[in-house]
């Protein structure tokens, strides 16, 4: 049984397709990161999966239950939709208790306080939510998603707007939840964070998943091959690189010079020995070579 299975999901607002035929499978126990530009459809996708909005066409199932019978599995899903959805007039602890009751989570008051402490809101349970800072609202929104011991946790940008320390707490929590066997589906604008916590990543552009795979696979797919930073004497210029290219037949490209380093591009790191030989044959002394790993950001920008 898959945690999430989506087939040709379309969500239309008027004549505009916000989700334009999404196909996706998320395995149980997986941390799946969903990234995309603002307005790409990430939140709409979450809203459609969680019953906040209705799909226009296509199909999906959550924990093996078809989307049309979603009510049957709602207690097994924890959702953090957005901080705008909180009851501002309630005290933090009352809000959690109310949400807990709805989720079938009948824990003690002490246990709610422990949950608040876990998300970094120790001692804030007695205050009204309207007095909370943005970060605190985000944290209590995450806390309510964890109520009821859900199997699948869906978090919409859980760390945006959080200070680095709180973001680390959330990341550690995601890792811990995965270790407990939970499936996590999260969206974020922070690609570094997505890369750190996700087993697989989907890049959503204009309502379609353009790239899908593990962070490593995606980076390997990135266009432009391998980028190298070489420290040589003399420092390489574009002219010298062109000369080397002609002489060696290497598919080498000059990118830029950064102080004593020259950035070069090769189709793959298999060409590195040939480049080394070509440099030495060309009378260039090689002191250092660093392979600059492609980031998820490069993948995202090319999606």
């Amino acid at each position: 049984m898959k945690a999430i299975e989506v087939e040709n999901l379309i969500k239309r607002y008027g004549s505009a397709n916000v989700l334009n035929g999404i196909n996706l499978t998320v395995e149980k126990g997986e941390v799946f990161g969903f990234v995309g530009h603002n307005g790409a459809g990430k939140s709409t996708f979450i809203h459609t999966l969680t019953g906040i909005t209705r799909k226009s066409s296509g199909s999906f199932s959550i924990l093996g239950t078809p989307g049309g019978e979603l009510d049957r599995v709602k207690k097994k899903i924890g959702v953090m939709p957005d901080i705008a959805n909180l009851y501002q007039h309630m005290r933090g602890i009352d809000f959690l208790r109310y949400m807990g009751n709805l989720a079938g989570d009948m824990r003690t008051k002490r246990s709610y306080e422990e949950l608040l402490e876990e998300v970094g809101l120790k001692g804030a349970g007695g205050k009204k939510i309207k007095s909370y800072s943005f970060g605190m609202k985000k944290k209590i929104s995450i806390a309510q998603a964890l109520l009821g011991d859900p199997e699948l946790i869906i978090l919409d940008e859980p760390t945006s707007g959080l200070d680095p320390e709180s973001a680390i707490v959330v990341r550690k929590m995601v890792t811990r939840l995965q270790e407990e066997g939970k499936t996590i589906f999260l969206t974020s604008h922070n690609l570094d964070e997505i890369e750190k916590v996700s087993d697989r990543v989907g890049i959503l552009t204009d309502g379609v998943i353009k790239k899908l795979g593990t962070p490593r696979e995606l980076k390997a797919q990135a266009e432009g091959g391998v980028q190298l930073a070489v420290r040589t004497k003399p420092v390489l210029t574009a002219e010298v690189v062109n000369e080397l290219k002609e002489k060696s037949g290497l598919n080498l490209a000059f990118v830029e010079t950064k102080r004593e380093f020259t950035l070069l591009q090769l189709p793959s790191d298999d060409e590195l020995p040939r480049l080394t030989r070509a440099l030495l044959d060309g009378g260039v002394d090689l002191y250092e070579v660093k392979v600059e790993e492609r980031s998820l950001e490069d993948v995202f920008m090319n999606a």
């Binding site: 809203h47 019953g51 906040i52 009510d71 109310y98």
Partner: protein, 232 residues
Amino acid sequence: MIHILKREFTDSIKSIRAILIILFITFVSYKSALFLKENPFLISELGKEGIKAGDVYSAGLSLIVFIFGFLFVFAISHDIVNSETEMKTMRLLVTKTSRPQVMFGKLLGATLFWVVTISVSYAIISLISQVWNGEEYLRTLIFLFYIICLAVFISTIVPKTKLTMFLGILLGIALPILGSVSMIIDKWYLVPFKYILPFYYLDQSFGYVLIPLAIGIIFFLMSVLIMERRDL
């Protein structure tokens, strides 16, 4: 559902508007019952007209509810659904439970508030008169249930709370007038009000109260259907 019911009930009962309405209804019930107790000749005179003593004692309360019921219910419950959709808290609720459960919880919470309010008033009347007019009690509750269902319906189809507040005041004044006038004046344009509003049925024998009860349920079921299809 039970937790939404409890939340709706406690939110209703804690509001200033609700407290004022409870005080007003209770005060009128108490004073009118006390007045009748101190003037027994009025009861014997009305008794000669075939009116039961229990009806006389609860008449003050019934009159208040039938005149101001729409206004009172709309004052408390005009935003029963759309406040949650406007504030987007409905999104949170529907991720935890089903939409019909949310709607049932809200309806029952609001109904419970009025059951408690009216029961307290009837308890005060019965303490003074030693009579509990069960038929009139149920008639009053069904009348209020009809209005709650209408408030839920309006709050579901109108997304803005400010607009439902305005509509609530407008309808709270207009509907009792239209309902009463339609019972007296036989004009074609008043016929819908005669048969859709509960006033005509409440003036008939007790069995007729099932009709406003059914209309109220239809309003509510339409609200659930609309909510089921809506993007929140």
